[in-house]
């Protein structure tokens, strides 16, 4: 199948998903509140700690800018495909993709894109309010190169996370319930990608490992590009890893998926 055919199918799926997603308005309101609430609370807690004299390796500007952007970047680099895809494998629902000239991953990618489009629009006013509220301590770089790297980093991170989702979901070809694996991965990722707190706040002894581990490049590094004071050397090394991890993740996901298809039993058909 050619690239243009694939893109046409994804475009059509985006339209279908977009149409379907707009039906569930209440879900979006809940999503907006939950996405913005956690970083907002974290921000208030850490600012209170600083105000009470806590000694942190980052200042108030870093923390504020980090948490204000966290909701948006976290949403853009997230993927929710794993549990749905695993369920589709378990129940035999991927059959409809396997015997048609398309791919279930077109569907996953389209769903990811369409929901992110809608959620970005829905989230924007909440981010703007948060921004306005803490506008005195939000500091952003003026260098356009940083913003270009920021956007590229978000795309690469989103690809990595999606590929990791497919990788995890592929285990459902052999394991009935991957809920536990997803939970463990989510917990690990929440800490190691900088979702719960900036990685700069983790113990100094762990920083060598933290800097190169893959989860950093699924969220934190994107934020660090615009929030932190990364040196040119840090940026080059980070960007290199940011580009390597999605390639590795896609190759691993593809290999496991192909192997899984051989074990697929198309249950329920």
């Amino acid at each position: 199948m050619t690239l243009s055919q694939s893109l046409r199918i994804i475009r059509r799926l985006v339209i279908i998903d977009f149409t379907g997603a707009l039906i569930y308005r209440a879900e979006f309101v809940m999503f907006m509140v939950s996405t913005i609430l956690a970083p907002a609370i974290s921000l208030l807690v850490w600012r209170a700690a600083l105000a009470n004299g806590a000694s942190l390796p980052v200042d108030a500007e870093y923390l504020t800018t980090y948490f204000v952007l966290l909701g948006l970047v976290s949403m853009l680099t997230s993927s929710w495909t794993s549990s749905f895809l695993a369920e589709d494998i378990r129940l035999g629902n991927i059959s409809k993709w396997i015997i048609r000239p398309g791919s279930t991953h077109f569907n996953g990618i389209a769903n990811n894109l369409s929901e992110k489009m809608i959620k970005s629009v829905a989230l924007a006013p909440f981010i703007a309010v948060l921004w306005w509220f803490f506008r005195d301590t939000v500091v952003l770089p003026s260098d356009p190169l940083r913003w270009v790297l920021f956007l590229l980093s978000i795309v690469a991170a989103a690809i990595t996370v999606y590929a990791l989702d497919v990788l995890t979901a592929s285990l459902a070809f052999w394991i009935d319930d991957i809920g536990g694996i997803n939970y463990a991965r989510g917990l690990l990722a929440a800490i190691l990608r900088g979702q719960l707190l900036p990685l700069a706040l983790l113990p100094a002894w762990s920083q060598g490992f933290i800097d190169i581990q893959p989860f950093r490049f699924t969220l934190s590094f994107s934020l660090e590009i615009v929030v932190g004071n990364l040196t040119t050397q840090d940026l080059v090394l980070g960007t290199t890893l940011q580009l390597i991890y999605p390639v590795l993740a896609v190759l691993a996901a593809r290999a496991l998926w192909q192997r899984g298809l051989r074990a697929y039993t198309a249950v329920g058909a």
């Binding site: 199948m1 055919q5 046409r8 199918i9 475009r11 059509r12 799926l13 339209i15 279908i16 149409t19 379907g20 039906i23 035999g92 629902n93 059959s95 409809k96 396997i98 015997i99 048609r100 000239p101 398309g102 298809l261 051989r262 697929y264 039993t265 198309a266 329920g268 058909a269």
Partner: protein, 346 residues
């Protein structure tokens, strides 16, 4: 049992399977908490032979019914033929392709419809799913429009194309599923229980539609169904699978002839008649078996070669007000076939 099917001599097969085999591995789990705990530390894996070295050839334009009891291997066979499953061993070519490789050119020439699985998006109108099919199969606007108009007319669903799929009835949805599957004019259609859950009217519509596309487009159809009316209406060739092996492959009429099931006679008496021993007194008791009665109406199963004797004797038992003679249902014939097989084994 193997019967020759005449149509096979005239063309190259579109499906050719040799020694096609599929085994499943599964974890055996006993019931109860203790077994569950034991399973945490030690698992017993078992292998189940679902399809056992079957050979099959299907030629262009045939409608072939795959029949058999639950767990016989017919759906697994259909899944391998369509490319959903990798065979464990054996050779399989469909339209010159190896189905499990799922070559795009192969996928463009087939369709699979599963009665228990929806291929449509439920939250949007069916037309949105059809437009996706158009992009997947690379149909031009003209091809798409022609196909939509033709199929919508044949299935009488023109008024449903812009209705959210979740708001359609089961019968309407199945018609839309068939329409989606056939928009790209596939060479072969695999149907797994396409009429399951449908009412009589919807079933009849689906059957006549399938006959029509087979007749007008020359589409080859492979169908599994537990509804013997589907098989009788559609298939001139049936393949009966049991325990993963082909028990019979041939013309449906030949199967009926071979099994030679008794004729069914339905008799309605003017007055209730309960003395069945009179059948024996007339000398026909050993040739006629009463399968059901409510006093006034008897259902009899009668040997074909003694049918005239029984029909002649019946009026002597009482006053008849109605009499009907029919052949056995296909499902009875198949049941008979399996019963004979068990008797031979034992």
């Amino acid at each position: 049992m193997q019967q020759d099917y005449d149509a096979t001599a005239t063309s190259r097969p579109v499906i050719a399977a040799t020694s096609l085999t599929k085994t499943y591995m599964f974890h055996k789990q006993g019931s109860g908490l203790l077994s569950a705990l034991r399973g945490v530390f030690k698992r017993t894996m078992e292998t189940r032979l679902a399809v056992d070295a079957i050979g099959l050839e299907v030629h262009p334009g045939e409608i072939v019914g795959l029949l058999g009891p639950n767990g016989a291997g017919k759906t697994t066979t259909l899944k391998m033929l369509s490319g959903l499953l990798y065979p464990t061993s054996g050779d399989l070519q469909v339209l010159g392709f190896t189905p499990s490789q799922r070559d795009v050119e192969y996928l463009r020439q087939i369709a699979l419809v599963m009665g228990q699985k929806s291929f449509l998006w439920w939250d949007v109108p069916a037309m949105d799913s059809f437009l996706l099919q158009k992009d997947m199969y690379g149909l031009t606007d003209a091809e798409f429009r022609t196909s939509v108009d033709e199929l919508a007319a044949m299935l009488d669903v023109g008024n449903l194309l812009d209705v959210q799929v979740r708001k359609t009835s089961l019968g309407e949805r199945m018609k839309l599923e068939l329409m989606a599957a056939l928009l790209h004019r596939p060479e072969i259609v695999f149907l797994d229980e396409p009429t399951i859950g449908l009412d009589v009217v919807a079933k009849a519509r689906v059957r006549s539609f399938l006959q029509e596309i087979n007749r007008t487009r020359g589409t080859t159809i492979l169908i599994t169904s537990h509804d013997m009316d589907d098989i009788e209406a559609l298939c001139n060739r049936v393949v009966i699978i049991n325990h993963g092996q082909i028990e019979y492959d041939g013309v449906l009429a030949e199967l009926v002839h071979e099994v030679q099931p008794g004729k069914r006679i339905r008799v309605t008496w003017a007055d209730p008649l309960t003395d069945f021993t009179r059948l024996d007194m007339l000398g026909i008791g050993e040739h006629a078996r009463l399968t059901e009665d409510d006093g006034r109406t008897w259902n009899l199963e009668v040997s074909r070669d003694r049918l005239s004797d029984v029909l002649e004797a019946l009026p002597r038992l009482g006053t008849l007000i109605d009499l009907g003679v029919a052949d056995a249902d296909v499902d009875e014939i198949i049941r008979e076939l399996f019963t004979r097989e068990r008797e031979v084994v034992s």
